[in-house]
């Protein structure tokens, strides 16, 4: 590894553009009239170390070009993901592959094949985001650290060629007597403008706002913290997004809490607006019909003793609460929101009727969640349930149930009456009654049904929010730091009665030049010239 020795005696690492000590140009290719001051000409991302695979990976991610490319690719791909709906937002009854092909043709087929149907959860999209994160970390490390070192160890004494090739520059001859005065006057004015002064003989460096240079890196730290926050979502305990349907009167464990918390749903309420609320509503209500004012679940929260799945824990009441939309029940980092509801059959009432006379010999009310086998109506009348199908359908000619939920209850009844002691069979569902063994004397007539509300609640916990907020805040601090402060430096050098002055800023050259003009004005020194304009003019002339 060859190192570069500058004529000032300083030994620079390989890849250095400007001598770390005196600022002399080391890279012979750097022969432009104005120096490229980016990263202070340090040997960044030492492209020279390319031997091992680690270095190769490092150098790949260290490239700003690669970083920008990754961001652009991600933007384009994210946009493509919005052309067709994502799979998770569709309630598909056919496989996604077929859906995309049939609905959108060959393009849909390609779309599906490339994984765009579930873009934001796909492996390659996640890897793309991860690469941006890696690029962010490595780019920042590879630039911030050398820049920090370079700025920390800068010396006031610079090579004349360094000053001459700064964008703002002036030189003049001074007499011995004036020289000291001018130098001191200049220094005083710089201090008044809040510059920090470093001196070495007749060399001077005035600097302010160095802190602005860290803006972009602070900014990146903010982004990295946000990425860490997003990553923590997949760590158990940081993020919960669960869902529960809970029936009125039911007590259930709250999902996502490891059986530590239980909830009782006492009542679910829907309230609608009426004219008494406000005269002005009258017209709207006439046009629209009922308008819902409030969805509410009245609940009690319990802390549960440790228990196994299926075991009843001991419950300690924590609080009663009325969950309304946007008024979640909160505890221990969890929030429980009112999301939806459903109304289901709770019980059905049938009357045992003699067909000829329409006389009813008693009623049975069947709790659909726990029907009894035998309902005794007295006086020798009795109804037995032979089978119960909560979600009835015929499959292959046989009665069966689609699920355990009472969506479409059906019963096989055996009706025992004083005159039919062996009982008559009747299959009764909501739509129809079947009498499998011929015409019966009695039948079960449907007399009514009770319903019960279920509250649909979501259980959320997000312990990453404060991390995202912190990251966002740091990001903004970085933006402010880099935007509203400027890193301005002025070098002054006197050699053999020749007075050199040069200035550099990282942004807002106009403001900088105005400031220098004020400093120089009346010192007998010439105003500094913006050499970039001069060289541009030269180019134009040439």
């Amino acid at each position: 590894m060859k190192e570069i020795k500058c004529e000032c005696g300083h030994v620079n690492p390989n890849g250095t553009v400007l001598c770390e000590s005196c600022g002399k140009v080391l890279d012979e290719k750097q022969q432009q009239p104005i120096l490229d001051m980016r990263y202070e000409g340090t040997a960044r991302r030492s492209q020279t170390y390319k031997r091992t695979i680690i270095d190769k990976i490092w150098n790949f991610f260290s490239s700003v070009k690669v970083g920008v490319a990754l961001i652009i690719i991600t933007l384009i791909v994210s946009a493509l993901g919005t052309i067709f709906p994502q799979e998770k937002h569709l309630s598909l009854t056919v496989p996604a592959e077929i859906y995309y092909k049939e609905r959108y043709g060959w393009f849909g087929k390609v779309y599906y094949a490339l994984g765009f149907h579930d873009l934001y959860g796909s492996l390659w999209y996640e890897l793309l985001i991860a690469s941006i994160g890696v690029s962010l970390v490595i780019c920042s490390l590879d630039r911030a650290i050398p820049l920090y070192r370079a700025l920390k160890k800068q010396k006031p004494k610079k090579h004349v060629s360094f000053l001459k090739r700064q964008r703002l520059f002036a030189e003049t001859d001074l007499h011995d007597a004036d020289e000291k005065d001018t130098f001191n006057l200049l220094k005083e004015r710089l201090v008044n403008k809040r510059y920090r002064i470093m001196e070495d003989g007749e060399n001077l460096l005035a600097e302010k706002g160095r802190f602005s240079r860290w803006g972009p890196y602070v900014n990146h730290i903010g982004l990295i913290i946000v990425l860490i926050g997003v990553m923590l979502r997949s760590v158990p305990g940081f993020y919960v997004d669960e869902w529960m349907m809970i029936k009125e009167g039911e007590t259930k464990t709250i999902p996502g809490t490891d059986k530590q918390y239980y909830l009782t749903n006492h009542q679910f309420l829907i309230e609608t607006y009426d004219e008494n609320d406000n005269e002005a509503y009258k017209e709207a209500l006439e046009n629209q019909g009922a308008i819902v004012k409030n969805y509410q679940s009245n609940v009690t929260l319990y802390k549960a003793s440790e228990s196994l799945p299926g075991e009843e824990p001991k419950l300690t009441k924590l609080k009663d609460y009325e969950i309304r939309v946007n008024e979640p029940l909160t505890f221990d980092g969890f929030s429980i929101y009112q999301m939806t509801y459903k109304n289901e059959l709770k019980s059905m009432t049938f009357g045992l009727m003699e067909k000829d006379t329409n006389e009813i010999f008693g009623q049975v009310t069947i709790d659909l969640d726990g029907p009894k086998r035998i309902y005794d109506l007295g006086n020798g009348y009795q109804v037995e349930i032979l089978s119960y199908f909560p979600d009835f359908e015929f499959s292959n000619g046989e009665p069966s149930t689609k699920s355990g939920d009472p969506n479409n209850p059906a019963f096989a009844f055996k009706m025992i009456t004083p005159d039919k002691r062996d009982g008559e069979l009747s299959f009764t569902s909501i739509q129809q009654t079947i009498e499998p063994f011929g015409e019966n004397k009695y039948k079960m007539v449907f007399q009514g049904a009770d319903t019960v509300y279920y509250s649909g609640l979501t259980v959320r916990k997000n312990e990453t929010l404060w991390i995202l907020a912190l990251g966002g805040t740091i990001f903004l601090i970085g933006v402010i730091q880099g935007s509203f402060w400027y890193h301005r430096r002025i070098w002054v050098k006197v050699v053999d009665n020749r007075f050199y002055i040069a200035g550099h800023t990282n942004k807002n050259w106009f403001g900088f030049q105005k400031e220098i003009d004020e400093i120089v004005d009346g010192t007998g020194l010439p105003f500094l010239i913006d050499q970039s304009k001069k060289s541009r003019e030269k180019v134009n002339e040439g």
């Binding site: 680690i54 970390v137 464990t253 659909l368 726990g370 086998r373 909560p390 149930t401």
Partner: protein, 176 residues
């Protein structure tokens, strides 16, 4: 050279940490939809459920025996098909240290009794009314069968319908 070595080590460590973070995140995100709990090789999550006669059955009480843990519902056709096989094989293997626990997914007593009577089942049936055991085992879809050895370890998970030979082979595997 010392400097170069240090740089190499620094870079390796940083890249390693980044790689680990990414692998972890991507892995957990991709596994989100998979069953993560009650996997083969793990100790079977203990539970307590009531059987049809009101007795409490606790899984860990069966240590020393092989447990054939089956989740079912009366509405599940394949469950109906395989139930008689399980029942028949249970009669053979129960004297050889194999226990069957048939966990109903929380239906009404009437539905379960009717079903058990129709198929003349004699295997112990328990009811998971609140779905907590199904959650602990990550059950979906039905039927689902876990083979638990005499040390309480899950040695196999099967989520399709079984024929009688399969049931027999399974019981043979968990025989202590």
């Amino acid at each position: 050279m010392e400097k170069k070595r240090r740089r190499f080590i620094q870079r390796t460590i940083i890249l390693f940490v980044l790689a680990m973070a990414i692998i972890y995140t991507v892995y957990t995100n991709l596994m989100k939809d998979e069953r993560k709990i009650a996997q083969v090789g793990e100790t079977a999550p203990d539970f307590m459920l009531e059987d049809m006669d009101g007795n409490m059955i606790r899984l860990s009480d069966y240590r020393g025996k092989g447990v054939f843990l089956n989740f079912w519902g009366t509405f599940c056709k394949p469950c109906e098909e395989e139930m008689p096989y399980i029942d028949r094989q249970y009669q053979i293997y129960k004297d050889q240290g194999v226990e069957v626990i048939a966990v109903n997914v929380g239906e009404t007593d009437l539905a379960i009794e009717t079903f058990a009577k129709r198929l003349s089942l004699s295997i112990p049936i328990v009811v998971d009314r609140k779905g907590e055991v199904q959650e602990a085992y990550g059950i979906f879809p039905l039927p689902a069968t876990f083979l638990i050895d005499s040390n309480g370890k899950i040695i196999h998970y099967f989520d399709r319908e079984m024929d009688e030979q399969t049931v027999k082979d399974f019981m043979e595997r968990i025989k202590p």
